[in-house]
Symmetry: D2
Amino acid sequence: MACLTFDPSREFDVIPLGRAAIDFNPVDINQPLEKCRTFTKYLGGSPANIAVGLARLGKKVGFIGKVSDDQFGKFIKDFFVRDGIDISHIALAKAGISLGLSFTEILSPTESSILMHRTLAADLQLDVSDINADYIKSAKILVISGTSLAESPSREAALKALELARKNGTVVAFDIDYRPYSWNNADEIAIYYSLVGRTSSLILGSREEYDVMERLMVDAPATDAQSAARWLGFGNRIVVIKHGKQGSTAFTADGNSYRVKPFPVTAAKSTGGGDGYASALLYGLLEGWDIVDTLEFASASASMLVAAPSCADAMPSAAAIEAFIKAEKAEYGEAIVRD
Amino acid sequence: MACLTFDPSREFDVIPLGRAAIDFNPVDINQPLEKCRTFTKYLGGSPANIAVGLARLGKKVGFIGKVSDDQFGKFIKDFFVRDGIDISHIALAKAGISLGLSFTEILSPTESSILMHRTLAADLQLDVSDINADYIKSAKILVISGTSLAESPSREAALKALELARKNGTVVAFDIDYRPYSWNNADEIAIYYSLVGRTSSLILGSREEYDVMERLMVDAPATDAQSAARWLGFGNRIVVIKHGKQGSTAFTADGNSYRVKPFPVTAAKSTGGGDGYASALLYGLLEGWDIVDTLEFASASASMLVAAPSCADAMPSAAAIEAFIKAEKAEYGEAIVRD
Amino acid sequence: MACLTFDPSREFDVIPLGRAAIDFNPVDINQPLEKCRTFTKYLGGSPANIAVGLARLGKKVGFIGKVSDDQFGKFIKDFFVRDGIDISHIALAKAGISLGLSFTEILSPTESSILMHRTLAADLQLDVSDINADYIKSAKILVISGTSLAESPSREAALKALELARKNGTVVAFDIDYRPYSWNNADEIAIYYSLVGRTSSLILGSREEYDVMERLMVDAPATDAQSAARWLGFGNRIVVIKHGKQGSTAFTADGNSYRVKPFPVTAAKSTGGGDGYASALLYGLLEGWDIVDTLEFASASASMLVAAPSCADAMPSAAAIEAFIKAEKAEYGEAIVRD
Amino acid sequence: MACLTFDPSREFDVIPLGRAAIDFNPVDINQPLEKCRTFTKYLGGSPANIAVGLARLGKKVGFIGKVSDDQFGKFIKDFFVRDGIDISHIALAKAGISLGLSFTEILSPTESSILMHRTLAADLQLDVSDINADYIKSAKILVISGTSLAESPSREAALKALELARKNGTVVAFDIDYRPYSWNNADEIAIYYSLVGRTSSLILGSREEYDVMERLMVDAPATDAQSAARWLGFGNRIVVIKHGKQGSTAFTADGNSYRVKPFPVTAAKSTGGGDGYASALLYGLLEGWDIVDTLEFASASASMLVAAPSCADAMPSAAAIEAFIKAEKAEYGEAIVRD
């Protein structure tokens, strides 16, 4: 029996809510950012990447967000349109508000960091008046990115969307997507993450992300089993806890848990895997696949993204993921990612 | 069987959280405020009044709030100390932050309004660092005033207190205490009221207050029974819905409801009744009284406050309320406030 | 020969620019403010008092300022209308902006202080769009109160008025009116005071006020003669430096200086004298009087105000000032205030 | 006789005050910015360019500014250090404040625009506490960039520097450097530009820049001769008014004026010329050259910059400018830039 069921009559499979931004990655890498002179522009932002990922997998995708009313906002919308993503609910920020930018510093193949330019970023200016009940009602799944909760007015916009999803039977997937630089203090993170996690149907996060979410609830960090029990207890149907290269576990409302490891690949960068994972996971769930198959598919997408030089640009089709899995299993054995 | 039970080992019976402010009431009334020349200073703010009300009823009371670091803040703290209220968790706002002030306009015995001076008011500067887990753990009941949710950082401070109360088994009473002028928009009100109402144990509000809280949840205003079912369904044990002079109804988790009307008095003003009601209601619950007796006691306190010229100053003792009930019943009959 | 000449064709004698506010003075005085329970409401704000003072002296007076769009703003405008002051250029602040309030603490006849409630006060919201060139052109004298320079957007409104006065030949009287609580830092005070003082025609200030204005210009506090030389050198025609009970000196562009002492009175309070002084001084200048007679008249008005229980309410007529001077001279001798 | 004389004992020839920023220029040009994928990073900001220009001309240069405390701030400081510019008074902004960025859109060789990312840019966070009297005293010339006046706290920092320059006999060169996007409204521009222009010694601006500066002073746009008379009348020694390709005129305090045209070059871009002009002009003045020779040198530097693909990177040495002039005159005649 499926953990989650979706209303087949809905127009959109998935509508992510949150930031769409631009990443500038240096071309002349392996040196400090101040020395890099040439940069390539990419679509960025976790919910934007998830939207592209699901569109590439053939799903009908919308988006709720806000972009700058300039060429960079147009870049986002053009990108989405090319991938068939509905942009009817991407609002334009008022004049003077810029798109959030990230500049990646790649010191070496294993050392990277990000310089954020996100002061009053357009995505965090999303406000309650931008949230449309009919649009949320038209989606099988609403993905709420945790970063949308970091500041007002985006915070309230996300909470309004959550409330409307609840009212209208839209499944809420909460992608914790923790970005420390966006937040004022640890208490706020714990408060708002747990508010959403308490009423979502699916939570996706790393062990660290569950720890920051549970900070006001526990006296000591919880185990995965304890966290899963807590959030399933609040009514979630699936709780996914990720441990990076050690793999991830999905705990389901029926009391089972399923573990999957990454496929062995040579990492080109340390980012993007999570967004590939999330989009492929939602794809499997929408397809009604077994959790085990879904997780394997998600893990494959994550591994492909980590091995690719970019994020949204590199989001694979279902056929590509299937081919990747087949090739990996041929080389490493059928059970390569399963415990 | 009692709807709510309390941990008898806790030091404080009740700790309200929220605003303590000053009301300036004109002496030369029955004319527009611009013409009034002389004003009397009173303690104001719903949670402050409730604190005083419960202290007068003999309960051990604390307070979580923030006041200006000046003579007006000192006035609040001095007032509380005289009534035996613990002020150890009333923080001082930084320099330049003023106490919230309310100036009452009394055009006639039945027409009054309030001119608010609450820009960056001290109470709304309460922040998460002011919230102490041990203090919340030391209380049987935490009263959260809805106005504390109107703005950051007080909003997050209240939500942190809510989370800590939940963790530590402190009963949360949510006094909706709706003040339109404090809020940005109707969506925010609905979002934050419902977040608290969803995890409290007791909700106190007028019909209008439930309507603003439920705005994103319903397509048309609910009936009292529907509202009660909703909030009891989220886990509340008692849901009180007030209809002004038409009386109020308490719905309890066991499926019963109890209705009480006001005692007939000559109103001196239109404010203060709710705070008298709340403090007397919490008193009855703490005493383990029947709901019916508790409601009658609450109604009596409310009526006494409405008939009095002031609020906190006029909060009655338990003996005074009992005497009032006895006298009213002698005059109007035993069942005067019961349906 | 007069130090200053005025265009007789102009409709208004004087238009002060700056704050109109409310003072609440305790009735139950000689105790800390937190203990005072009853307060009387008065018109306050130095430029507002000067406007009333000049209107009482029979001059045609306007006003440039901003008040709250509520009963307190209406109180200000009603007060001005009763005194015949033109209110056509008193703008209304947007909703949520309150009038500035001052609560006086009178610990004893000689110890007093003020508790300010001026966060985002209406007067400091005056902005450049509120400044009308024709209105400034219609005045013989524009009085700029230094406090209007403390914050944007009032700061720029005052500087725009200054520029337009300069363009249109309106005499600028700069009343330094230093209120430390309004300012961010000492450098800003020095910067903006000196910007105005450099292009005004008349400066009124205490020794302390010249010191804060000259802070970035000098290595050690200047003497009165040095200050006078500096500001006359920038083009001012009259520089008045006040020393409280020790009297004041007017330095004029022709190189002369005139000193006057206060009339001996029993002070009822320590405020208001400066506003009486300023309005009477401008009156004498407008009348074309000798500086010496003007100063004596200003000193008399100041002394009358200090002896009165209120400020704007107590602004005297010219006849009253003349009678006061006559009575004082009869008692203390003709040269009582002259050196 | 020289229009301006400088104190030879001072350590620094020139200290510009204002923004140092980063320009990102697309590599794949001649298309809308949203389509450009690759960008090259350059030092930007008019006062930063002027600093580099003067350093390349062999002058001893300092800088007063604020940069982000990250890799982009380090890029600025590293660039300056390589050019021998003193960075001891470049302050670091607090965490969360980003460097201002400009993204150039080059639609065609003649159509370009700039997308600004300057919300709370580091340079505009310069504040009065960053301004050091001894540093200003150590300079022959302080260059104030008009953009530093656009917002507080940078506005007050610039005004404090102006005041200290005046006190300490440092020559103030005001480079109007008008950037409309930085300002709130036209009145503020006129107010602050004219405040500085009134007390500087040298003003550099285009006709349009004088018009915005004089907006509150005149009823109709002034002629160059009228503007020159006005600003020389306030005490400036040289007033330079630029008319783009039509050339520029320097009006001097002795009543003369000197006109110079650009050298004929093929423009590679429309920016940078002004900064080359300013640095070469100050160089000529510091060298004690005739105005005519100075202007020719400035015009040559401007033309070289316009013909170069970058700004700061392309700032020429004195020898290069001289060689350029010689070559141009050989080709076009000795009087090519003179009327």
